[in-house]
Subunit: 255 residues, 2 copies
């Protein structure tokens, strides 16, 4: 279907209908969202030991920590005040605002619960280089791409609630070092992510006018899935199989 | 005094005392803050006609509009969540938050009061190229410079309350097209700017450790004064003397 047409042909093709455009975006999730990655199946199925879950949580911290910087980088390019006023709540969701501590704090409650020190986690010292490269590629992407394409890259949020529900149930059932309290991050995201993805989906429908722009949006969701997938590849390689931990990266039991 | 030492010598010099560092920052204001520019003296002294005040207001809009983007660009580089949580209120001040409309809205009340259409002002179509180049140089500066130097570049706020008080009094007294309502922007900044400059001054005192870092901070305040000064040079050239308006720029009476 649409995926098989060469990019140069899209330039002259009529735009997809709004329904087909949304379907093409959603199809990316079915094809390559990281819920299909073997590491996630191990994580949710209770097949990892505590050290491996620690490795996941402290690497994933780098992604959490990059997201508000990504959103700020996006806002730095936006001349439309109304769009900035809408987008800034994503930073509030992660960094908190006033009394509200925000999602990163909830992530640190998770890493606390796993017995990792906050200084070590927030230093990002033990994170895999591939994690840091992947998340910074995301920050750069929203700086360098057209705004509508940058917005599209956030649309993995369309696929997030399902994985979060699965993760909450699976991790609570399978790990005695995980409780309700430490899963607060994912519970909060169940309501935040749909609000964000509704806005972003509406935005790209209204602002991707040509077929080429629509395809660039679809490619942006693929790119973002790659950012997420690459993080799990690196975790799997370092901590599952073959289990070769890169120099300087977190070694379970040694922190 | 300190300004006469070559950069290479600073590398080996001991750091300034905190008091001397602050004095060096403040001395930049005395030397080159834009309250010394002839255009400001004309503006505050009631010596401009309405078209010239319009030109000032719509060019200055570009600066106002760049500031929250500059703050977002800065935040996109900050890994310290507490610093982001502190800095984000600057974006709230300009863009507003929820019910609060923010400083850019107040600036548009000023341009409304001057009889300019919002579409025209916010399009930035009539602004002088030199204005846009200057403000975007500021946005780039905070992306490219070390964080402490980026923070220092905000410190022209140390000098702002005095010019705002002078501007409120001078413009109200001298122009029949200016009233209390349209001067709301400046009144609000009288309380916002000192909060921001107190934080920024504390930050650079705590984070500029070497003489070279301190001097880079002083140079950042000079850079920022240049950004402001260059905007007034361009206005003066186009709308006062010799009064040669660049192609495409605002022509009083024609909008």
């Amino acid at each position: 279907m649409t995926r098989e047409i060469a990019w140069s042909e899209w330039l002259d093709s009529p735009p997809l209908s709004i329904a087909d455009f949304e379907a093409a975006i959603r199809a990316v999730g079915e094809e390559r969202y990281h819920d299909k990655h073997p590491f996630h199946k191990l994580l949710h199925g209770g097949k990892l030991n505590k050290g491996q879950v620690q490795a996941w949580a402290l690497n994933r911290y780098c992604y959490q920590e990059a997201v508000p910087r990504k959103d700020a980088a996006f806002m730095s390019r936006v001349h439309d005040r109304e769009l900035r006023r809408e987008w800034i709540h994503r930073i509030h969701d992660h960094d908190g605002l006033g009394e509200e501590a925000g999602g990163i704090e909830r992530w640190l409650v998770l890493t606390d619960g796993l017995g990792l020190s906050r200084d070590y986690v927030t230093s990002r010292r033990g994170a895999l280089p591939a994690t840091k490269f992947a998340v910074e590629a995301y920050v750069r992407f929203v700086v360098e791409q057209p705004l509508v394409v940058a917005v599209a890259s956030s649309l993995t949020e369309l696929f997030a609630p399902a994985i979060h529900r699965e993760r909450i149930a699976g991790m609570l059932a399978n790990y005695d070092f995980v409780d309700d309290h430490v899963m607060a991050y994912f519970k909060r995201r169940l309501s935040q992510a749909p609000r964000d993805s509704d806005f972003a989906l509406g935005y790209i429908k209204a602002n991707a006018h040509t077929r080429a722009e629509q395809e660039a949006c679809v490619a942006a969701v693929r790119f973002k899935c790659d950012v997420l997938w690459a993080q799990l590849d690196a975790l799997h390689h370092a901590y599952v199989a073959p289990g070769v931990i890169p120099p300087g990266a977190f070694r379970p039991g040694e922190v």
